[in-house]
Symmetry: C2
Subunit: 243 residues, 2 copies
């Protein structure tokens, strides 16, 4: 006789299959001091003790309802605030990537404004490392250098045709500030006029009436991002370089 689904579930042994260890890691980007930076932590435990690594850790099946929840929880633990932008990057899983054996990690990447973070606390074990090319000038634990490179490529690529750069700035920002973010991450100067046309015509920004930001020259108009839910998509990529 066939089992009903309810009967089947009562008898089902969850531990039937050997499972890999499962972790969630984070690539948290910000732009500070005219550099793209990524949050690194020094590992407190073996393996790779005292080496720099991406923040992350094991899933907690009791308190994490989903992988994304887990990523948000770890983000809050590490930097104390919810990131305005969190996106799943990729899952890396193999027998070799961790000396303890078969592991898989789902990596998320987050963007945040540098004014919402503090660089200072515990510089010895937590650091915002500048990104040079597609990595940092430190050796990273596990396959984290490879993961970081993938994240940098994804970030540059998404910058070309979406609005995600606004998440690297505070709520109110000027167009020159936004352009500088693009220039820093894409590592090339952009034409002011073309840049403005592009973002204004995309309709993604809203002037903050009357407010201006001071500097040494003419003050710049403040804008805010119009709709964090809407997906801006530029029909042409921002730089001509082939990828």
């Amino acid at each position: 006789m066939e089992l009903t689904e309810a009967e089947f579930l009562r008898c089902y042994n969850v531990s039937l299959y050997e499972k890999p260890s499962f972790t969630v890691d984070l690539v948290i980007f910000t732009v500070r001091d005219e550099q793209l930076r990524v949050l690194l932590v020094k590992r407190a435990e073996h393996p790779f003790k005292d080496q720099w690594a991406l923040p992350g850790g094991f899933l907690d099946l009791q308190c994490d309802d989903s992988v994304e929840n887990c990523a948000m929880r770890k983000l809050v633990e590490k930097i104390g605030i919810r990131a305005p932008y969190l996106e799943q990057l990729k899952t890396y899983g193999s027998r070799e990537r961790d000396p303890r054996g078969w592991t898989a990690t789902t990596v998320y990447f987050a963007l945040m404004a540098s004014n919402s973070i503090s660089l200072e606390k515990d510089q010895e074990r937590v650091r915002w490392a500048p990104v040079q090319g597609e990595g940092v000038d430190k050796a990273l634990a596990f396959d984290h250098a490879h993961i970081l490179a993938d994240a940098v490529v994804r970030l540059r690529s998404k910058l070309e045709y979406t609005h995600i750069a606004v998440h690297l700035l505070p709520e109110a920002f000027t167009l020159p500030e936004l352009q500088q973010i693009y220039e820093i991450i894409l590592q090339q100067p952009l034409d002011k006029s073309s840049f403005r046309r592009r973002v204004v015509q995309a309709g993604m920004l809203e002037e903050i009436a009357g407010k201006l930001r001071d500097g040494s020259g003419r003050p710049a108009q403040l804008y805010r991002f119009r709709d964090y839910d809407r997906k801006t998509f530029f029909p042409r990529s921002i730089s001509r370089y082939a990828r």
Copy 2:
């Protein structure tokens, strides 16, 4: 006294953390009979017994060296050949998605030419279901309808600015055939002249000297994809529709 890394690894208990069940699922696309189709299998076991689902299954820590290896193994098991294109889509993990409890699945999507597959074997339990909109006209097990929708969106999106459609055709194909693939998946007619300019100028194709394909009218020039490793990237998206 501190443990060395070697000592630590000897004592390390891999089962310390409770792990979610981990599976790999596949969204395998092809174009056949002028329709985008996806491979579905009827589940033999509970849960969701006898419902249609994406092919997939548990990771085998013994024989799978990596998640990607596992996806390739399952692909070969299901359709008997290596797919010319396999890309990781996303990882879905939560407590709710499977009645047996906390599970995570890493989903890959594959493209293949319809001439390399057989539609006939075991129609009762394996089927190439036509994709309508962003799904199929069957209820799917687990969160597979949601996963399939994500895969269709990703496929359409990548078609706009990359060359991946060539993987849906046999090695030798004509430009009208390639254009038809785009039209079927993007669900809109494309201008012949613009389409040709686009793919020819991208430099991704190579004429197969002298070979022509017959039809009722003038025979079309055969082409093949120049370099399966190179990344073609169209600087503008192919259709004007905003996403």
